[in-house]
């Protein structure tokens, strides 16, 4: 079920209407959350509910068994991880593996297509599988490490695992954060309710008015048979994509966090203005925070983190980033995206160039921002190419062709860029750029730019009501949230 669909509005209205009645008793609350969340997920395809249930049963059981037989807890941890990673491997990566083994199979004399031998169901990536498997694994890993007491109530566990606002596209909420909140009935103050509403409205605005307006331009550019031969055009397109993916994903996170707040639950912040980062290290503390901290805590640090020889620290970081790239998609361009970011971080770590640059008075920080932007945009080319499926051209080929155009400074040809940036697209781009500059220059912290609270109390609801109008009537024609496919 998409947040931006009439069915979800009806679902949410019914859910929150009944929520005050059904949240009082623990078991009723947990059962209601689980049933509602399963309904929400099953609306897309009820057959894949068995995956969440299966994954959840393995981890719930593993958690209890680890406490019962602590000497064997490693075995059950491994079983839990295998179960979760196994379902990812089957439903997300089997096609990718089959395609990559095809040349080897042909060399060995196999005449058929490996992909066609796979059961059909395995070629459909269940919505949200990457998110809920990670959320489930974090439960068993934290139990194993002794950081979490496993829950003995299966409804409590499934309420945590399947909670619908963050089930399909995050933020990935740790069991240690959410299970205690679920244990008690939460009451929501008027201020919290209002903050949640504002967050939800902002989320819908980012998705419907920004991301969806920009999406058709990006899709058409990347889906065209022939690459547009214009340097300026492609820089414009990739900037628009950077905008699209940020607003799409952070918009979803805002809606999820807002809905959680309405229920009385705090989800972690997932984005903190990543595009004002002045170093790539800073970028990864601001972008998809719940995922990057997951990888830090469950991959990077267990590998040794940075508390080892320098070359080993770099290697750990590379492994973490490449796996992170692969998490995003079963395609080599995603791996390249992860590797590129690993390269950026390695260079940064080795040279400390952002810190050196920022020491230059007046312009240093701004230069660092521009360089980070260029590095991010180059990486986004691979990310976006990973979702292109076109006959006659590989995803990598598409990425390299686009990059080639971006550095063809002799082919500036600005007219195509002018065409795509006219009207609402240009307006939306200007709005987002201004907002980022507002935060980059710290204007949000300056008193003179603050509206007096008495006036703001009246203006704010009107402003947000107008934003709702914009979401309804000035929305773009994009569709599903990008991160649903992960």
């Amino acid at each position: 079920m998409l947040f931006n669909s009439p069915e979800f509005l009806i679902f949410a209205a019914v859910f929150f209407f009944l929520w005050p009645l059904l949240k009082r008793a623990n078991n009723t609350r947990w059962l209601y959350l689980t049933v509602a969340s399963f309904f929400f997920y099953g609306w897309w395809d009820w057959r894949f509910l068995f995956l969440i249930v299966g994954s959840g049963l393995i981890d719930y059981g593993a958690g209890l068994i680890m406490i019962r037989w602590p000497q064997r807890r490693k075995v059950f941890l491994v079983l839990s991880i295998l179960g979760n990673v196994g379902s990812l491997a089957v439903f997300k990566y089997s096609g990718f593996v089959a395609d990559n083994l095809q040349p080897l199979a042909e060399m060995l004399g196999y005449a058929g297509t490996l992909r066609e031998q796979l059961p059909r169901m395995t070629l459909v990536t269940p919505v949200g599988i990457s998110f809920y498997t990670f959320q489930s694994m974090s439960y068993t890993i934290d139990v194993y490490r002794g950081r979490l007491e496993p829950t003995r109530n299966i409804l409590h566990f499934f309420a945590y695992l399947s909670l619908f606002p963050q089930l399909v596209a995050g933020p990935i909420v740790r069991a240690a954060d959410l299970l205690p909140q679920l244990r008690e009935q939460q009451t929501v103050t008027e201020q919290e309710s209002y903050d949640a509403l504002k967050m939800i409205i902002r989320g819908f605005f980012k998705k419907l008015v920004v991301a969806d307006v920009v999406a058709p331009i990006v899709n058409e550019a990347f889906g065209a048979r022939n690459i547009q031969e214009s340097c300026v055009f492609w820089w414009a397109v990739i900037i628009l994509f950077a905008l699209q993916i940020y607003c799409d994903f952070s918009g979803y996170s805002d809606i999820a966090i807002g809905l959680g707040k309405w229920m009385g639950y705090d989800f972690p912040t997932n984005f903190r203005h990543p595009y004002i980062s002045t170093s790539m290290q800073e970028f990864w503390t601001r972008w998809h925070i719940s995922l990057s901290t997951w990888f830090r805590d469950y991959v990077y640090i267990p590998l040794g983190g940075s508390r080892c020889a320098s070359w080993r620290a770099h290697l750990n970081m590379w492994i973490t980033m490449v796996v992170s790239g692969l998490w995003h998609g079963a395609a080599w361009p995603f791996v390249a995206w992860g590797a590129l970011h690993a390269a950026y971080l390695s260079v940064e770590r080795a040279t400390s160039w952002p810190d050196r640059l920022k020491r230059i008075p007046y312009v240093g920080r701004h230069l660092a921002l521009v360089i980070c932007w260029i590095l991010m945009l180059v990486a986004w080319v691979f990310f976006r190419s990973g979702t292109v499926a076109q006959e006659g051209i590989s995803q990598f080929g598409r990425a390299m062709a686009v990059l080639g155009q971006m550095v063809s400074f002799h082919k500036l040809n600005p007219e195509p860029a002018g065409e795509i940036l006219e009207g609402s697209v240009g307006a939306v781009l200007a709005l987002v750029v201004l907002r980022h500059l507002y935060f980059h220059f710290g204007l949000d912290k300056r008193q003179r730019f603050r509206i007096p609270s008495r006036i703001w109390t009246i203006l704010e609801p009107i402003g947000y009501a107008l934003v709702v109008v914009a979401c309804v009537y000035f929305r773009g024609s994009g569709d599903a949230f990008i991160y649903f496919q992960f």
Partner: protein, 320 residues
């Protein structure tokens, strides 16, 4: 992160409810203020209803946009009152096997006088039309979409996206100096009237379209095969090329290599009746499609021609 349980309860409907209420009111006001050139049925409802027609007509008119814009069944019925006539035309639709089967399925099997009128344009006989076929595209609607289009279009339309200028024109309608009035009728006709009369000619677009697009023999053969089949089943089959303008016909004939005379002869050899209307006689809003007045006049003349053909058949005793 652990949330502190807070004992503070709701005291009064606060800013949350005020904001939601204000939003609902503003959404309603803006939706109601939107400027609209369309009237009649809602377009999604119109197409969904048309797509679901079965066994409810004595005469079916088929073809692409020129047919559903150019022919009014209701006007025709004034001259042919005994016939229930339906316009089964769809956008950019070529004569694929699926479409031809569906045309016949609209006819009432118990009709005493079943007839089919094929609107022939060179575009409808190209492979490109067969590929981008709006008729087939409507098959891809899922059950949810079909339900919404049939029962909820009014609500869907109220919340359709708009541009700021639509809101502006809704408040100041006199500021709008260009109009594209479209009225969707339940009989399958879409009447179009524009201000100014010819807002944008389609001649350059068709010149470019037919630069490398050709009529294909297999599409013509398919039409002929179905014509023979329908004739054998006792269905009278007419064909007409909706009159555009002289220059458009020239572009189409030369570009697509469509030979109208050869098509006509072959069609009549398969038992069909070709209704000839020279170009340039009826008003068009884009040099391709007839405007409302042109369509009404053409429909009247078309019905009169069919009536004349009926009388001639009765006199000669020719098989209907």
């Amino acid at each position: 992160m652990t949330k502190q349980t807070d004992q503070t309860r709701f005291r009064r409907p606060g800013r949350t409810w005020i904001t939601l209420l204000l939003a609902a009111v503003l959404v309603g006001v803006v939706g109601a203020t939107r400027y609209e050139d369309d009237s009649g049925m809602y377009p999604d409802s119109f197409w969904a209803a048309k797509k679901s027609w079965k066994h409810n007509a004595d005469m079916v008119i088929a073809g692409d946009s020129r047919s559903y814009i150019g022919i009014s069944p209701t006007v025709m019925q004034k001259t042919l009152p005994k016939l229930r006539i339906r316009n089964f035309g769809f956008n950019s639709t070529g004569y694929s096997a699926e479409y031809l089967e569906a045309i016949a399925a609209v006819l009432d099997p118990d009709s005493p006088d079943p007839r089919i009128l094929l609107c022939i344009s060179p575009f409808s006989l190209t492979n490109w039309a067969a590929k981008i076929n709006e008729f087939l595209h409507l098959d891809k609607l899922n059950a949810r979409q079909r339900f919404l289009y049939e029962h909820g279009t009014g609500v869907l339309y109220f919340f359709e996206p708009m541009e700021l200028k639509d809101l502006w024109y809704g408040i100041y309608p006199e500021a709008k100096d260009k109009h594209f009035f479209r009225e969707h009728f339940a009989d399958g006709w879409v009447a179009i009237r524009t201000i100014p009369d010819v807002p944008r000619s389609q001649l350059p677009a068709y010149r470019q379209l037919f630069a490398d697009l050709r009529v294909k023999r297999q599409n013509i053969q398919r039409v002929m095969d179905y014509t023979s089949r329908w004739r054998a089943a006792g269905i009278k089959v007419y064909a007409v090329r909706i009159p555009t303008c002289v220059e458009m016909e020239k572009i189409e004939n030369e570009g697509s290599q469509f030979n109208e005379a050869a098509f006509t002869a072959e069609f009549e050899a398969h038992g069909g009746v070709w209704l000839d209307f020279p170009p340039g006689q009826y008003e068009s809003f884009d040099h391709s499609h007839l405007n409302r007045e042109g369509a009404v006049e053409f429909s009247r003349d078309l019905a009169a021609r069919i009536r004349k053909d009926e009388k001639a058949s009765n006199l000669t005793g020719a098989k209907p």
